[in-house]
Amino acid sequence: MGNKRIINILKKEWRVQSRDLNSILFVTLLPLLIIGQALLIIWLVERFGGDAILANNMFQGAIENLRNALPAVSGLEIERQLQVFLLSQMNVYLLIIPTMIAISFATFSIVDEKLSGSLEALLVTPVRTWELLLSKALAGAVPALLVTWVCGLVLILGVVGIGWGQTVEMIVTPSLFLSLFLLTPAVALLSFLLGVIGSSRAKDARSAQNIVLAIIFPVLAVIGLQVSGLVWLTPLITLALALGVAVLDVFVLRIAVRLFQRESIVVKWQ
């Protein structure tokens, strides 16, 4: 019965989303913007800043990590190594997409229902709090994940379009697959769960967004660590990270249920 209730909420959420043109535009255009920006930066760096980067100590350390993780890179020219390095950031860079969507959408998930008065009606159905919160998070995380995968494909096609087709072969690695199919779903769910928590605690969508904005910092930190060469997401590290985030998902869901104050919501939001 729990599954039936979750599916019921998912269907409703997706129906509401499909009726909201602003949401559809945002979910499709924002990721494309992020990907377009990534392609532009890669192209600009490679075109105009390549030499400076190649001479940089931090890059030397990062490229060393890359060579350890991907020995085949050592045989390439240093410019090609730079291309592989830049494109290898894609696996973590894509994590920004579900996180950004979560900040924009999950924050409305409960606040909107509070404002419309539909939440009290929902809370007098047999739905459990965990079912409500999980389905709210999944309703956003699943489309965000699909969009992220599409963006990954667009990014690869874009890179081929730039003329780096041979380099692409070097970055389609187990790390990328583990990141896309394990780490990204776990991060997407985590982002939306945190967004739902913010939404359930906030008085309006704006303050919910302020609360939830902090979600993006850990993702940026992972990107920063990899770009700076301090950490390289090998398949093992990616797998461990994905499992860690998945465990965190369960933990955060439990916290979300505890923080969801039915009584406060019912009494204060009329």
Binding site: K12, E120, V124, T125, P126, R262, V266, V267
Partner: protein, 309 residues
Amino acid sequence: MAIVEAHGLTKKFGEFTAVSGLSLEVSEGEVFGFLGPNGAGKTTTIRMLAGTIAPTSGYAVVAGLRPDQEPENLHQYIGLLTENPGFYNRLSARFNLGFFAGFYTGFDTDHQVEKYLRMMGLWERREDRVGTFSKGMKQRLALVRALIHQPRVLFLDEPTAGLDPEAAHEVRDMIQELSSEGQTVFLSTHNLVEAELLCHRIGVVRTELLALDTPENLRRSLFQRQVVVQLENPTTALVNTIASLPFVQKIEQAGNHFRLQLTDPEIYRPDLVKNIVEAGGRVMSVSEERHSLEEIYLSLVREEEDDGQ
């Protein structure tokens, strides 16, 4: 058999006591009116009974379950119409109802949706977005939502508040129809006419329960029953004769109308008429003065106010 029980229900919000020591029982099939002024604790009581908020002390049992301990299980058996019902305005009436019905088991959703939408006169608008509905239509739709899973107890919180007279009338008709089908209804209202029209018993609340009985018993307990007699050209002698009758406790005259307080109106009303006729009087009409529920309610609330001062 009681389907709703409250035992010393108390709810405090910080220092403020919304409901204090409320105890009552509602039988299966009964339409129970819960009357009180704004801020009297009606909505808070309903929320405690529906399991959406927990009591500070005391407990309730609804449909055999404790709302504070098993709210989700209880929700399978109750329906609640809130004062300001919310819907998903971008979705159709049918989708909205189908969504809420989807949380329950044991019935054919499509059949129930059609049955109640037709009953409420909303079937033709089933595919329209709820956002295009008037307040009255939304209220009727909310009533359908509360009913769709055939709850054992239906909690209605101010179901006609803010509705135009026609819409309010339709909602009352619906409640009467449900009552005739044996539906248990817990009706919170401050519309006294509505309560008198619909309810088998009434509880008057103002933080505490002030009175609980049928409207008729409340009348009896609060007001002496009075008989009003209209006479044709009453003479002083006739008035004196009436006043001297042993079962007449009090007599007030206003033109041809006499308001009489009898020892027992049921027994002595025929004797009164007989004595008037025997004394040469001509009786134009005899009726019993009924105090309205409004008078009962105001009497109780003012009495409580006086006690509080």
